[in-house]
């Protein structure tokens, strides 16, 4: 399955690119040690990339997400003549790069403090999420349901930046697919695109636990995709630190033939109960419904208000009352 001649060609171009990268690096860095560290890293990256290009059967790192879409730069760039350098990104100057990477991964890892859920029923898909995002002791409110395109939604759990960036990137790819093929992409295809990208970055510290929900030609679909590379097709999912609480309420109240109002209420109730028990979830419950015409936002209620709506304060009888002592 491998062609010897093609291998030699690829090797030749690979060494050409590496040499030009080195020349560029040498001219860029005056500080010797930083330059050397950069060169070493680039070399090792190039090495693995070369080997990856040679053995084309092994998974290649999918850097298409990092491509800048404004590739029509003026010729006469001082880079490599007609060939552009392989896509790469700037590295921070640090003494211990490996330690820095490990720390960065650990910082994002436990971050899936949220509750999101989605389920399929006879009239489409309900997608619901809380809005709490916390960084240390500081709490703020984030929009966790991302509108990929008018008929597909994605939920956010894990690193907010990772989710937002890769969902936006997925939206771009879906639109490109539409333009190239004159038909909308299926939810299966969109989720597979995202899963493949996330798989190629596994072990590098991305933290994404998302659900892709949409309505395509085959009807409503729901996929769970995470940054470990897993992709599951299903009818009910909940993701995040509050998900076990939400699952309980959701599984118990679920029937396939719910009406839209009942289903919206079920989603809202499940998120509310999760926010009640889970400290990392809270804020505002958003519920969306995806139907054959596309998605529509149904509710956005504060969980504090919801609590008193579901459990109104009952004035309790007082057994003993303290009264002011009258006179001495």
């Amino acid at each position: 399955m491998k062609c010897k001649a093609m291998e030699k060609e690829i090797n030749k171009w690979a060494t050409f690119l590496v040499e030009n990268e080195l020349a560029q690096l040498r001219s860029n860095f005056t500080d010797k040690s930083a330059g050397l560290a950069q060169i070493k890293f680039r070399l090792s990256e190039q090495g693995t990339n070369t080997r990856k290009h040679l053995k084309s059967e092994i998974m290649k790192l999918d850097t298409s997400g990092l491509e800048s879409f404004s590739t029509l730069t003026a010729p006469g760039d001082d880079v490599v003549g007609e060939f552009s350098a392989p896509p790469s990104f700037q590295l921070p100057n640090s003494n211990d790069f490996d330690g820095f990477v490990k720390e960065a991964i650990q910082m994002v890892k436990p971050a899936k403090g949220t509750t999101t859920l989605a389920f399929i029923f006879k009239d489409g898909v309900i997608v619901a999420a809380d809005s709490r995002a916390s960084m240390g002791g500081y709490i703020y409110s984030v929009k966790k349901i991302i509108e990929i395109n008018p008929y597909m939604l994605g939920t956010m759990a894990g690193g907010a930046a990772d989710c937002q960036f890769w969902h936006r990137n997925l939206g771009i790819k879906c639109r490109l697919h539409e333009l190239a093929n004159k038909r909308r992409i299926s939810v299966t295809g969109a989720s597979k695109l995202l899963a493949n990208i996330l798989y190629s970055y596994r072990g590098m510290g991305l933290s994404v636990g998302t659900m892709i929900a949409g309505w395509d030609e085959t009807g409503p679909s729901l996929y769970y995709v995470d940054s470990e590379g897993g992709r599951l097709k299903g009818t009910r999912f909940s993701v995040g630190s509050g998900s076990p609480y939400a699952y309980g309420v959701l599984d118990n109240g679920y029937r396939y033939d719910l009406s839209v109002e009942e289903a919206v209420e079920l989603g809202r109730r499940a998120i509310y109960h999760a926010t009640f028990r889970d400290g990392a979830s809270g804020g505002v419950v958003s519920v969306y419904h995806v139907g054959p015409e596309g998605w529509k936002k149904w509710t956005g209620d504060d969980v504090g208000d919801l609590h008193y709506q579901y459990y109104p304060v009952v004035p309790s009888t007082v057994e003993q009352e303290m009264v002011e002592a009258t006179g001495a």
């Binding site: 693995t48 080997r51 996330l198 470990e228 590379g229 897993g230 599951l232 299903g234 076990p244 599984d251």
Partner: protein, 204 residues
């Protein structure tokens, strides 16, 4: 937690896998099919990290199909198993796949065969094999009751014995299992063994 096991009988090979997709303490779904049909007469049952499992088995499936398109004849089971092992071995020192694989197939010339392929690219041709926590229970059951040339009924009986043992003795036993068989008529699903059914969804 993931239980995969299989055995070779008289003119057929059977593989059984659990069907739960688990994330720490949460069961995301209980009907995830982990036995992929590689081609008309091969099955690949995989267990391990979820992303790796799907990506690796799909990769093997597409390469096996490519060979058939290019050369007009399908790969033998031994060739497919060696190819799978080779891919695991090549990736091992760079970007290892954490997938354990049981590859079952039927060839006209050599009959049924079962290959045990570890995540560190160990390969053995076996009559019976198992992966996961379930292997602690199913291997000894199979050692006790297996004999070469079992009929389908005897083999399914043995499989059910193993499943019952796993269910009663494993602390986090998976509720549902899928059984697939490959013989001269091809690779196909044989049965499900379910103890937890999901809410019924009327089919479109």
């Amino acid at each position: 937690m993931e239980c995969v096991f299989g055995l070779v009988g008289n003119g057929f090979a059977i593989v059984v896998a659990d069907t739960s997709a688990v994330h720490s303490i949460l069961v995301h779904k209980s009907n995830e099919d982990k036995i992929m049909v590689l081609d008309s007469h091969k099955l690949i049952a995989a267990s391990g990290e979820p992303g790796d499992r799907v990506q690796f088995t799909e990769y093997i499936q597409k390469n096996v199909a490519l060979y058939q398109f290019r050369n007009g004849i399908p790969l033998t089971t031994a060739a497919a198993a060696n190819f799978t092992r080779g891919e695991l071995a090549t990736a091992l020192r760079k970007n290892p796949y954490f997938v354990n694989v049981l590859l079952a197939g039927y060839d006209k010339e050599t009959g049924p065969s079962l290959y045990y392929i570890d995540y560190i690219a160990t390969m053995h041709k076996v009559d019976k094999g198992a992966f996961g926590y379930g292997s602690y229970f199913s291997l000894s059951m199979m050692d006790r009751h297996y004999h070469s040339g079992m009929s389908v009924e005897e083999a399914i009986d043995l499989v059910d014995k193993c499943i019952m043992e796993i269910r009663s003795r494993l602390v986090v036993a998976p509720p549902n299992f899928v059984i697939k068989i490959v013989d001269k008529d091809g690779a196909r699903q044989y049965a499900w063994r379910e103890s937890v059914k999901d809410a019924p969804v009327p089919s479109a």
